[in-house]
């Protein structure tokens, strides 16, 4: 099993989610994060003083999938989250050792 973690632009969340559902990915966990990267922040003014807001709001999506779904999941995210502009984000793939469904106690791929 793999954990796919994607940092994407917040407004792309809905599209990505829909496409993943169609792929058969049922569950995912989403967190609001601040991204620092090539895409720079912006300037704000408060009573004449300029402040450099140097982070960009991003969404982090975490999905654990069976090995055989991993590649497809990655490519679906890549496709749907892409705008082609800087700051589109990254997808990270990590190994997962086990997964347990709390409600039933099932583990391994059955628990996904």
């Amino acid at each position: 099993m793999k954990k796919i973690e994607a940092i994407i632009k917040p407004f792309k969340l809905d599209d990505v989610k829909k496409a993943l559902n169609e792929l058969g990915v049922q569950g995912m966990t989403v967190t609001e994060v601040k991204g620092f990267g090539r895409q720079k922040g912006h300037i704000e003014f408060y009573r004449g003083v300029e402040y450099d807001i140097n982070f960009v709001p991003k969404m982090k999506i975490e999905i654990v999938v069976p090995d055989q779904l991993a590649e497809q999941t990655v490519s679906v995210i890549r496709e749907k989250a892409k705008t082609g502009e800087i700051g589109d984000g990254k997808i990270f793939v990590y190994p997962v050792e086990n997964i347990i469904r709390i409600r039933t106690g099932e583990s391994g791929e059955a628990a996904i």
Binding site: F11, D14, H42, I43, E44, F45, Y46, I53
Partner: protein, 431 residues
């Protein structure tokens, strides 16, 4: 002077007191106290509206939305002193417009007002100014989350000058509507609510929908802020409606009671129908209903009985509930329901005057249909139509002009990032 006062008495409601001509030329400290505080109350309504609207938009647009209202308080406060008041209330020119004689408040001082003989002229001017401030602010709910700030400024200057001022003159300033037609509008069903909603309608047609409208959820980001806005609006509305008596006494008391009662009834009726139809009574629905009831009673507040105000309010709540649902049916994007609420209730309230008005309540008014007079209802209907046509046409022209000069709408990217950051360079909230 006297000659001008008599014909417009109906609209101005300068009560029986006027009869005692001798007394009428003296400032009355109690009336003045009530008009001072009423003016303060109506002033508070505009920031109240800013919060009412601000809570309903998305987090990224809250300052932009608030600024839409505040800019009216800032800018129209000055415009009114310079040329707005004289165009609206200055010496009448052919029933169409006030003359330029009072430009920059020239000749408007501490002496009794010709429109409210127990109150200083300056104070009457200021009271009316607060109405000119909030009316364009109401419009901004329609194009919230996508209007260019520079366009808004140009638009508002032109609109206050060429739409609000003439209309106000026709109805309250001694112009043809009150004089010839006999329109009754106690505190602004036509001048404020209908006119802002018709302008909103024109604006929506021109500016189009928000990016993603209908696809993405566009949910209120802070409903307690909207509730707070309602609280300030309701509070301020006492100045708006009961202040429109222009004196402190029985008539102000009537208007106070009908205002409060209608608001309560409308909030309840919206809640009940929503409960029946959707299974749950929402807080946003209840406060929307309250605004419907407040706007609905506005033209009628000093002409009808408290019992009538229960009926007017109840129907206002139901009609506006239907009104906001029209949006889904017709598919336009009136962001904060200016048409569905102010348009519907402003129209209903103006017509309701024709039904429920009673000369026993206010001798300066007339009897309506239910008191045996059929003509008033027709007058009111005609007034609604006329106002609709005038405001729509004039607003449309103004918007075309502004669009041509600076463009009405922000760029896609700006809309996406949100107005707070893209237009004002700030974030409403940190962390």
């Amino acid at each position: 002077m006297k000659l001008r006062i008599i014909p417009i008495a109906a609209a101005l409601l300068v009560l029986p007191r006027l009869v005692y001509a001798g007394e009428a030329t003296t400032i009355n400290s109690g009336d003045t106290a009530w008009m001072l505080i009423s003016t303060a109350l109506v002033t508070l309504m505009t920031p109240g509206l800013a919060l009412f609207y601000g809570g309903m938009v998305r987090r990224k647009n809250v300052l932009g939305t608030i600024m839409h209202s505040l800019i009216m308080l800032f800018m129209v406060s000055v415009i009114w002193v310079l040329w707005g008041y004289t165009l609206s209330f200055g010496p009448d020119k052919g029933g169409i417009i006030g003359g330029p004689e009072w430009f920059g408040l020239n000749g408007v001082g501490q002496e009794p007002s010709p429109f409210a003989p127990t109150v200083p002229h300056l104070l009457f001017m200021m009271f009316q100014g607060t109405f000119a401030v909030i009316t364009p602010a109401l419009i901004t709910g329609a194009f919230a989350e996508r209007m260019k700030f520079s366009a808004l400024i140009f638009f508002s200057i032109l609109w206050v000058t060429f739409v609000y001022s003439p209309l106000c003159h026709w109805v309250w300033g001694g112009g043809w509507m009150s004089k010839t037609l006999g329109t009754l509008d106690f505190a602004g069903g036509i001048v404020v609510h209908l006119s802002s909603a018709v302008a909103a309608f024109a604006a929506i047609l021109m500016i189009g929908k928000r990016r993603g409208y209908g696809r993405e959820p566009m949910l209120p980001h802070d409903l307690p802020m909207t509730v707070l806005g309602l609280a300030l609006l309701w509070f301020g509305w006492f100045g708006f409606n009961a202040g429109s008596a222009l004196t402190s006494g029985g008539l102000a008391s009537v208007a106070f009671v009908t205002t409060n009662t209608s608001a309560g009834a409308a909030a309840m009726s919206w809640m009940v129908i929503e409960w029946m139809q959707k299974g749950k009574p929402t807080a946003l629905g209840a406060v929307s209903g309250a605004v419907a009831g407040l706007a609905g009673i506005t033209p009628a507040a000093g002409f009808v009985s408290p019992l009538s105000s229960i009926v007017i309010g109840t129907i206002a709540g139901l009609l506006c509930y239907v009104g906001v649902n029209m949006k889904s049916t017709f598919g336009y994007d009136d962001s904060l329901d200016v048409i569905g609420i102010h348009g519907v209730s402003g129209t209903w309230g103006t017509l309701a005057v024709g039904l429920f008005a009673s000369a026993a309540i206010n001798p300066a008014g007339k009897d309506g249909l239910f008191h045996g007079n059929t003509s008033l209802f027709a007058t009111q209907g005609l007034s609604v139509l006329t106002a609709f046509v005038f405001v729509f046409a004039a607003t449309f022209i103004i918007l075309k002009l502004v669009d041509w000069i600076v463009g009405l709408r922000v760029k896609d990217g700006e809309e996406f990032i949100g107005l707070d950051q893209s237009l004002h360079g700030e974030s409403a909230y940190m962390q």
